[in-house]
Amino acid sequence: MKKVILSGCEASAEGAIRAGCSFYAGYPITPQNRFPEYMSDRMPESGGVFIQAESEVSAINMVFGAAAAGARAMTSSSSPGISLKQEGISYLAGCELPAVIVNMNRGGPGLGDVTPSQSDYFQSTRGGGHGDYRTITLAPWSVQEVYDLTYLSFDLADKYRNPVILLADGMLAQMLEPVELLAGKKRLPKKKWALTGCKGRMPNSIKSLFLTPGVLETHNWKLARKYHRISEREQIYNTYLCADMDMLVVSFGTCARIAFEAIRIAREKNIKAGLFRPVSLWPFPSEALKNMAEKVRKILVVEMNCGQMLDDVKIAVKNNSRIFFYGRPGGGVPTPEEILKEIKRI
């Protein structure tokens, strides 16, 4: 099939439109400015809605409205903007509304910088906003995968009536790569719960407020059961060169791609390293990682942060003395040589 050259922002936007997304609201922030720009042309072209909101707070609440009305809806931003969206994401989770949020992660905390980072791992996988909730979090490592996982994000959001975060970074946002625009199936489910006007039925309401004693707890347990179902069914990961490995590198997103290059060079020097790459960060592929970890004595976790996924690796593997970490926070991007040095060191 013919490939087209797209940036990560464009690939995600195009994937969303092809997945049937008909509503986008966003606010400019580097490194994802191409996202609203692309959507401002393509959305109206495809019969959808584009709104440049007055803030990320407003954008996510517009998405809340569109989702409540039954539309496939999304927003995109980068770290400081994603912080502002947490209010809306918590409400989406509490009200069980489907939506897709793309985070082109940049260095933080605060205004940080505009270079690629993986510093929002905790924020994405632990809930991010207030309340006892989870967001499905998918982490692509190529522009093609940005496209494919955006598509998948909408299906998962609708399937579980839950917000889904696509966690990429400033590198993937702006990098140009050839992409096959696979025509996946558009699975637009019927949404009986949506607010469309009560013609021919009883009125619907959407809410996260439960004041009657015990009802909110029941609601939370219901959500917890849903998260459990998601955990059991939706773990995604990839392994590379693990068949004959002596040591395992665990890394996700852009960083995994750099680590893979380091492993390729290591192999030329007869160091048998393998790569485990979680694609779904929540649910984290713990069981698969545990099994893979049993084959090796040493595990190196590499991230573009101070060690966040590291916690999940420790929970999965349990034996912490075998786990080593190499990280570059604050917008630092490791080179394959740096990672190779660590592989050799441990």
């Binding site: 707070v57 409205g65 009305a69």
Partner: protein, 252 residues
């Protein structure tokens, strides 16, 4: 027995049988009722989608007999934008208090107005944060006592109240802005007329309209309902003059 019973007064279809949580004498109930009457009269109940605020009216989805969603504090205009743009032929309104609309949600209301969203906003100005038990609101009058201005609002310290209709009237995206009050029967009828016009304009795709209703909060103002109506009439109406601030929809 008479065959054709003609009702002179009955509960509007757009209201449910639910008992409200509103305090005795509170204006929210009156405003709900006249909105429900308007929606019945316009025959739009089955295509209306309401947005309840965070505030005393947070449970509005239990009181209105049509589709209603909750929204985060101050965000109803953004939520309304998402709904209306997705379903342009439905009738979408927000119902907001002064804390919701003129403090935490100031950006949302101004920009929904600036975009000229074709929605109807019912803005209930009771000069206080009712739900959280009577703190200063952006519309608390100078000198007015609240739980966070116990000696009265001192403008040098607490700042000045915001006049929403006047502010929004400078925005080209607005079509209809009127301030009414509910301290007397004629005023309640006037308010209903304004609300009806606001919904009618939306049905005619004319654009953004807002009706600001000067309402009361006897509990937190610490006065009996009759005195609270007197307060609206004398104090509030003086600082927030009722009237039509913009009507660009007439004959359009």
């Amino acid at each position: 027995m008479k065959k054709n019973v003609e009702y002179l007064y009955k509960k509007p279809e757009s209201l449910t049988d639910e008992t409200t949580i509103y305090c005795a004498g509170c204006g929210h109930g009156i405003i709900h009722r006249i909105m429900a009457e308007v929606i019945d009269e316009l025959g739009i109940r089955e295509k209306t989608i309401g947005i309840a605020p965070v505030g005393c009216a947070v449970l509005a989805y239990d009181y209105f007999n049509f589709d209603v969603t909750e929204a985060a504090h101050g965000r109803p205009p953004a939520v309304a934008t998402g709904i209306k743009r997705s379903l342009p032929d439905r009738i979408v309104f927000t119902y907001q208090g002064d804390g919701d609309l003129a403090a935490i949600g100031t950006a949302e209301i101004i920009h929904a107005a600036a975009r000229g969203e074709n929605i109807t906003v019912i803005f209930v100005n009771n000069g206080t944060y009712g739900m959280t038990k009577g703190q200063m609101a952006p519309t608390t009058l100078p000198g007015q006592r609240t739980t966070t201005t116990t000696k009265g609002r001192n403008t040098a310290v607490h700042g000045f109240p915001i006049r929403v209709c006047e502010l929004l009237s400078t925005i080209d995206g607005t079509v209809y802005l009127e301030r009414t009050k509910i301290d007397s029967v004629p005023d309640v009828i006037k308010t209903k007329r304004a609300i009806k016009k606001a919904f009618t304009y939306q049905m005619e795709n004319k654009g953004f309209s807002l009706v600001e209703v000067l309402s009361n909060c006897p509990t937190n103002w610490k006065m009996p309902p009759s005195q609270s109506f007197e307060w609206i009439r004398t104090k509030m109406a003086e600082f927030f003059p009722p009237g039509v601030y913009k009507d660009a929809g007439a004959g359009k």
